[in-house]
Amino acid sequence: MNNSIKMIIVLTSIALVSGVVLSGVSNWAAPHIESNRIAETEAAIYLVHNNARSYKKIETEFGKVYKVYDEEGIPIGYSIVSEGNGFQGKIRLMIGVDTALTKITAIEILEQVETPGLGSRITEDEFKNQFRNLSAQPSVNWVKGKTPEKPNEIEAITGATISSKSVCAIINDVLQKARIEKQSNKL
């Protein structure tokens, strides 16, 4: 048999078998992967709003906003996904705020690539808990090396000021956009 024909036949059949096998595996895996993704987002939505029982997704110009409701169906606030530049790369946050967009309920770090052991401490509870019931009026501020005095202040992590600052900046930025959106009754 002609060698080049053999080459084509062999390669084509290998590629065909590979395609068929992969589409099968993909069909099996796709629902699992999708449900994992949904479970992850849902967990984060409820993590920043302890009393929330259900949510509604709102697509906005600045990203995804989830309006959350308590067990009686009364809206208690928003869970907002936002991202921005940190020290070494992107930081992605889930921010929980009340309905008036003036008080933060909690935050959760979804993704970050900060320096391990320094900037990555923004994922630790000690830092995140500072944002519980923090006032965002007029904006979130940070202080360095002393205990925060005002209700809208947090203390930056020693040795990771830029990472701490970035988290505040991301929150302030997205809240400002959300307030504009709120004024035009889109939220």
């Binding site: 590629a15 590979s18 395609g19 992969l22 589409s23 595996v25 993909s26 530049n85 020290f87 070494q88 790369g89 690539v113 320096t115 830029i162």
Partner: protein
């Protein structure tokens, strides 16, 4: 501005070799002489930019719209392999001097995981067309820079009295560690 950030991030802050660990094999294998590592770096940069363009079109215009995402890995690697062959043929036809200086490095590039890494990362990060091109440029520049710096150090290292057991790969890795530490100084740039 966004494009510039992507370029600097890929080239310096999150350097492909020193902080993402992509393309370690050529980094250890070819970094003996400054001249050859410069050629290798340029050949890689060239292939990276073309790969960025082609894999962007392949992923966002063919695989995603037709719901063929599961073919991503096989199709990417095949495209890269044939792309390298194609580039080699074109360079051979167009310019003999360039072919003589870059030619022998081109086949090595197929197995350079930095190229496939680039294609995978730009699809994972949902980069736009231009962002992908700047990402490829930055990654290539960063790779070249790391390779040339390393070659410079290794040329000096020839003269140093390295313990017998540490000659070759071990001392290169330790040197790379110190370089990676130095590159951390760029971390706050973005």
């Amino acid at each position: 501005m966004e494009l510039l950030i992507i370029f600097i991030s890929a080239a310096i802050v999150n350097n492909f070799v020193l902080s993402l660990f992509l393309g370690i094999c050529p980094f250890i294998g070819v970094s003996n002489k400054i001249s050859s590592s410069l050629s290798m770096g340029m050949a890689t940069t060239f292939v990276m930019v073309i790969t960025a363009v082609v894999s962007w079109i392949l992923y966002f215009k063919i695989l995603l719209p037709y719901n063929l995402k599961f073919l991503q890995i096989p199709s990417f690697i095949l495209v890269i392999a044939s792309l390298v062959q194609f580039v080699e043929m074109v360079i051979k036809k167009v310019s003999q001097p360039i072919y003589r200086s870059l030619g022998i490095f081109l086949p090595l590039i197929t197995t350079n995981c930095a190229i496939l890494g680039l294609a995978l990362l730009l699809s994972m990060r949902n980069y736009s067309f231009w962002e992908s091109i700047f990402f490829g440029l930055g990654a290539g520049a960063g790779f070249t820079m790391a390779l040339v710096i390393m070659a410079g150090i290794r040329e000096e290292l020839e003269m140093a009295d390295v313990p017998e057991a540490f000659k070759g790969a071990p001392i290169t890795l330790i040197t790379a560690g110190l370089l990676a530490l130095a590159f951390m100084g760029f971390a706050g740039m973005i």
